[in-house]
Symmetry: D2
Subunit: 346 residues, 4 copies
């Protein structure tokens, strides 16, 4: 049994780590912090956890030592606290964006702010387990990837590695409202947000930087673009990725690339069926699960290879992926605590 | 480890039993039958179970002996097969309506059909565990209650037992689309069904008979009415129950009645808070869980006691409640396999 | 052509009046005010009006004289401005709650605030046209009824007037998010608000006072209770009203009461069909329309008469009803500008 | 006043034409046919039209002469009846796919069936008014374009005509359930269809053929691909079109192209704002309207021009566009009957 704490546990990501860890057989939750809700039971913010835990939020200033610390703060916050937090926890998994990008300049150009703790950037491993399993096992610091980056990287990695697609990659992402976090705003107001097909970011999505960073290990000159559309969905994320296959590439080769890389991956499923309603990945049946489902179709008329990837943005895209990394860092079975299969119908 | 089978496993209830039992540590799933999909993998109908099981549907005629059999057929079907099925399984849990009502005449009057196996009606225990725990433990035959009946009985039972409310009980039920099952129809067609607030049954709901049967053990002359409204929800069920408190009854006495009956119940939570967004029971955060959440409010202006009950119709209302009964019948811990806490946000 | 202005036009009610009046052949919109958005085009807040109007919000202090003024302010605001506004407009329709209740004490007890302009309470006619057509025609001041009150009063009025039901009336209301107005809050945050069946007010709804006031003209001792449940719907309102018919009352008499009162009403439809998907009133097909659809069912098992009423809360429940009153006050055909039939499917 | 009839009026497209024409001041609806519902009131299938019309469905065999006939049949049906129908109606607008493609071989290759009346293909004008206004005015036969084709052609036409983009065009379409029509199926079953982000057609969408046909008048070698994703929406359609601007093309030039072509178009709005929630086209506020809203963004990092187009698939994408054509063919003002501005919030 190891003692873990969650720094910033009142938000959606923190609540999801808490949900998963409360049924993890090897973990004791020591503290969960919230500046605003210190002293209140966690079920006040996470009503699904009623009767599951009596935990009460601690004030962040009262954080004690622990074996492993999850940090779930808004972007730009964790780098302020990191020098202190590393003295309290042997291992740290940071779910925010602050340590995902290896280069300070890349961070600063995409996030339009100064990095106040650039010295530690090199200490963090980028937390997509399927690409960095060994490094994560040996690491004390893991940066939890962005949800949009996670599903895009996993969908593209075998194709890029096996040299099957051209450089131009267009990611059309269908996004849910939980991605914007806990804080109400005009854009999250139900009468305005319900039923939308809102092109809130036709270009310029920050996760682009993570995708390029990770895939560039396998190909030069990638030109990656994201167009993000918010739809009426609370939890879930689907990407339709439009790529151009290299000349002569066959569907068989695409299958082979995915199988080679993912046949033994516990949380990746290739979904491409001839019949049924769920022939391709579908985020609604992934809610609560750590799966990344990937499918594809060769466009035989226009020269195109369309890849479809789906995740639960709060699980495989955030908290579940982080627990998966924790399992590796602590020597636990990789799937431990992440067995929920998802619901159907839902 | 016991061997169980599911007779009629291609529908929503059967799929949900399958989902729960696949992670139950004391159970081996022997066979799951489907006339229509015999020979096909179960993930064809239950796409959430991909990579969780390699089970293939068996033809119902090929059903073998097993320790416990779940039956998940449309109403009116299981009574035809029961004489044969009881020779194959030592214990049977039937999720349909055929054996819920103790009196043949009551069944026939509400279901407008003849009961072809009335001799076995007396063998079945009505499967609301909180009311019949001991009988279920000792029984070989359990009838899984209707979802609407389950939440209504659980919401009302302490009040009726403690003599706190008048005879007239009005249940205003908000229903989801999964309650109507797997079969497409004009009324389930998405353009017609999405966004509805459809008064599909202002009176005459069949589950009334179960509610009266169960509560009549504690009070005479109950007058129970259900008005059912379908809303845009796939999974979940909420009842707003309008009752009149007996003269002089206080909120404190209501609290006491619920605490007396439910303080030790693992799957019942009294939800009645002063602040927060989830002050009363809310089905959306119960999806996938076996909880029945119950709350209430004294109407101090109009003389009324409003009770609010929420469940996941497919879990506590169907498959989860059945597994809870199975755990009792087989001597397993009552909560085994039913630990999922539910998701938030969702 | 008359000149009208809207005082408080940036909210949902104001926007809806604007939408309706922009295609009204007898009206010129003179000014629409907004403190916060003064100087900006109205399409900034009402994007549906792009290319339909070049109107710009005026600051409320710049309001000029007009023939008729609509006021669409939060409750408790219009009474502060009324003494001044009545000098600017010959006729006033106030959509807020301030002048709906005839008695100062009733207002103050339900709204928990002092009425600062009680002298004018007697000048206002309660704006349900079907009950007060003649008075509205002759009046200069009309108070726009609450949406929940509108549909409940219209559903109940013929039954109470014709002495068909007992005093105890229970209104189970299914509410949409637009009823809470424009301002974001934790409870309107999409991840928390989407998919809910939220018992946000099991008792104590303020519109009760309006319903009692209006129906008490026809019966003594009415005991009216509302339980309000918010569902995942932006626009629309349905009430399921549970009543007890007086002894011996037949379905035929109920039909007769509705026909007697409503046969010639342009905006009321009795919806009670034997077949089809839309057998009873359904708010989704009323979006944008000024209809109030009413249906009912005799519960032959439990002694009950269930009435079902549906409206678009922003049209018949607010802006449309107000324009209907305006038409009467100005001598225009009552249906003018309110002809939109609604959409199907939607 | 002209007499029109609708051949095949029980479906969604037919119902929508009916809704629009019932308030069209220059049109009398003579007959509306339905084989299945002959003899029943149209409000049985189109409940929004209750109290708006007493029309009863006629059997198709009883169709009489009329000035203009709308045909709203499933694809592949109208070509069978056309030789007869042309003897009954002076003018015909066919909403199906049978006469959209000028070349028989193109039709047969995309629709996998033989064209049984190819001789009339040349008689039909493709009904996108903005591209073919003059021809439509003079024509007796108009083919109503596909909804997906309509919004894509309108979004792309100025860019192609002004030579601003490269040949490769990728259309990522977000689709609603009404596009699949009236007939229930497993894929339209609410528990399966609600909440989906379903990649039901990653490639091979038939409307591609129409888009290429229309745009090829302005550029050679266009390579157009559609990926279609169904989301939880009943009515509405949004396309995110990924294109590559020709070298040196500026945002200003894009603005200019759209303004040049569309400045005087009554039903096209360029939506591209710096602030507000509705900065780009949004189908939800277009429900019931004949608008096509178009916006765009230059991707300055990846070389891309993203175009966003939105319509109501049943209005501008089907019935509204057809009435717009009818207005031209009959010499009525082009906007007549199509003035509805849409609702907000919704």
């Amino acid at each position: 049994m190891i003692k873990i704490s969650i720094f910033g546990a009142s938000g959606y990501a923190g609540g999801e780590i808490l949900r998963i860890l409360l049924s993890h057989p090897k973990v004791v939750i020591e503290q969960v912090t919230s500046r605003q809700f210190a002293g209140q039971p966690v079920s006040q913010m996470h009503p699904n956890l009623r009767k599951k835990t009596d935990l009460v939020f601690s004030h962040p200033d009262e954080l004690k030592k622990c074996s492993l610390l999850f940090i779930a703060l808004p972007n730009g916050e964790s780098m302020k606290y990191m020098p202190k937090l590393r003295t309290l926890a042997k291992k740290i998994i940071d779910l925010g964006a602050d340590y995902r990008l290896h280069k300070q300049t890349t961070f600063e150009s995409w996030y339009k702010q100064k990095h106040v703790n650039p010295g530690m950037l090199k200490d963090f491993v980028y937390g997509v387990v399927e690409l960095h399993r060994l490094e994560i096992k040996r690491s004390s610091f893991v940066a939890g990837p962005g949800c949009e980056a996670t599903v895009s990287i996993l969908s593209l990695y075998p194709l890029v590695k096996h040299n099957l697609i051209e450089e131009k990659i267009i990611i059309d992402a269908k996004m849910s409202s939980s991605q914007a976090g806990l804080k109400p705003s005009a854009s999250s107001h139900h009468p305005e947000r319900a039923g939308v097909v809102r092109s809130y970011m036709p270009s310029g999505h920050r996760h682009t930087a993570e995708i390029i960073q990770e895939l560039s290990a396998y190909a030069k000159g990638l030109d990656v673009a994201i167009s993000a559309t918010a739809i009426d969905m609370v939890r879930g994320l689907l990407v339709t990725i439009h790529t151009i296959p290299k000349k002569g590439v066959t569907e068989k080769e695409v299958w082979k690339a995915y199988r080679t890389e993912y046949a033994n991956e516990p949380f990746i499923r290739i979904v491409k069926e001839r019949q049924g309603l769920y022939r391709f990945p579908e985020p609604k049946i992934l809610q609560g699960t750590n799966y990344c489902d990937i499918g594809f179709e060769m466009d035989t008329i226009s020269k195109r290879l369309v890849i479809i990837g789906a995740i639960d943005n709060l699980v495989k895209g955030t908290a579940g992926q982080a627990v998966q990394a924790m399992n590796l860092m602590c020597g636990f079975p990789e799937e431990m605590g992440l067995e929920f299969p998802g619901l159907h119908p839902i």
